[in-house]
């Protein structure tokens, strides 16, 4: 048996490298957002990988802070005592700015919570992103032990972030509004014209498009699009973004409309998952 394995080991390795992706393709979920629950072994292994990712994220953020304080304190060179004093004050200032920024973010989140007391919100921290340029996925670490489900909405004070795609214990993947797999039922806040916000995965920005928006509906640049609630995923009236471009199609029933999401996805630290509503 061992001789046989030894003799054919190249073929077996080649088969392994072909079968692993083929099996993953065969077992993949239907296109769209939300996946089946993983077996416990996978959940633990993946949870362990994400826990290491969270630790890596914390370390990198800490290194960034140290680097900033060193860069800020590197100019004084005359008197050693003053140098140390300046460096200490600058480090303190940098730390205070960080605390103030976090305070401001938390105040915004608390404001959002107060504006929407009807939602059950679970806070989460962003710990990573996907490692390809083709998708737009955030990786979250939950700050509580509430059990999440795929397709739960994720929001911040500025508006909709996206939907939970996969859950692994206290960790989750979120497909954001501009991912090409994202679909959100939306209405125009001004005239209630409805459409579907689809992510574009655009290279330079986070633009999305509004599909199925009838040619008869008047849409202007700057109009605010909010969740319509028909998809039974997002509650109604959460801001998704503003209309950035309107082009009436020469043919067909629908308009070509681009939407700029209201959330700045490059600066997300904390988010809320809506786990239920009263």
């Amino acid at each position: 048996m061992l001789d046989l394995l030894e003799k054919h080991r190249r073929k077996l390795v080649a088969l392994l490298l072909v079968l692993m992706p083929v099996a993953a393709l065969g077992l993949r979920d239907e296109p769209g957002i939300g996946t089946e629950e993983s077996p416990v072994v996978v959940e633990w292994t993946r949870g362990g990988t994400y826990a290491t990712l969270a630790a890596t994220h914390t370390s990198l953020a800490w290194i960034g802070e140290i680097w900033n304080s060193i860069a800020a304190g590197g100019s004084a060179d005359e008197i050693e005592r003053l140098e140390k004093e300046v460096a200490r004050l600058q480090e303190e200032k940098s730390r205070l700015i960080g605390v103030l920024q976090e305070n401001s973010r938390l105040r915004e989140l608390v404001g959002f919570k107060q504006q929407h007391p009807e939602y059950e919100l679970v806070p989460a921290r962003v710990i990573g992103r996907d490692i390809t340029p083709y998708f737009r996925v955030l990786k979250l670490r939950l700050k509580s032990s509430v059990k999440l489900e795929p397709r739960m909405p994720v929001v911040v004070a500025d508006g909709v972030v996206g939907q939970i795609h996969e859950v692994q214990g206290h960790y989750a993947d979120v497909i954001i509004v501009s991912d090409p797999r994202s679909r959100i039922d939306a209405v125009n806040q001004r005239n209630r014209a409805s459409g579907i916000v689809q992510g574009l995965g655009h290279e330079r920005d986070y633009l999305a498009r509004i599909a199925y928006l009838s040619q008869k509906d008047e849409v202007r640049k700057g109009d605010v699009m909010v969740t319509g609630g028909m998809d039974r995923v997002f509650p109604k009236e959460l801001i998704i973004g503003r209309v950035a471009e309107v082009a009436r199609a020469k043919r067909g029933l629908f308009q070509e409309v681009k939407l700029e999401p209201s959330v700045d996805f490059s600066r997300l630290d904390e988010v809320f998952v809506i786990t239920g509503a009263e």
Binding site: P21, A24, L53, P133
Partner: protein, 171 residues
């Protein structure tokens, strides 16, 4: 031992990439570490060692890529096979030729993903996203290929000093 070290360092690089992209606030760009790892293993290991090491990394790569199941993994496997073919005719020391190969491998990776998607998910918008992101994908790998390969070479050299002398084949 060398392969185990490559798995550990490779996994660490993948995690650092994911966390670093978040810390820097980059979502459109990626350093394509998974493709560089496949090129490295394809050009610096024999088929069995490289293949088994890559197989151990494929699942975490798939988790961190967060795409629809299997497509990214399929592209990475294809990159490994092609790198093995290129192995005989590429310089021994990690350098410009490997960076060029990594850039070409990224184009191949996109092509494999696109063909698989056309066959299995023909109406997906991901194809458009891939077309838009292709330039940044190539740029990302061009920037990261040399440092990532150099780091992996250092790890190899530390564990197996004879491995970095270059392949001088006579006769």
């Amino acid at each position: 031992m060398k392969n185990l070290a490559t798995i550990v360092v490779g996994l660490a690089l993948l995690l650092v990439e994911s966390a670093l992209l978040e810390v820097l606030g980059l979502t459109q760009v990626s350093f394509q570490t998974s493709i560089i790892l496949a090129v490295y293993l394809g050009t610096r290991r024999d088929f069995v060692d490289g293949g088994l090491t890559l197989a151990a990394l494929l699942v975490p790569i798939e988790w961190l890529a967060s795409g629809p199941g299997g497509f990214h993994m399929l592209g990475v496997s294809a990159v490994f096979f092609v790198s093995q073919v290129a192995r005989a005719s590429i310089q021994g020391v990690w350098g410009f030729a490997h960076v060029l190969l990594a850039v070409l491998a990224t184009a191949l990776h996109m092509l494999v993903m696109a063909v698989a998607m056309l066959l299995l998910m023909p109406d997906t918008v991901i194809l458009t996203s891939m077309a838009w992101s292709s330039g940044l994908a190539l740029l990302g790998v061009a920037v990261a290929a040399w440092p990532v390969g150099a780091l992996l070479s250092k790890v190899d050299a530390a564990l197996d000093p004879g491995s970095q002398t270059g392949r001088l084949e006579m006769g």
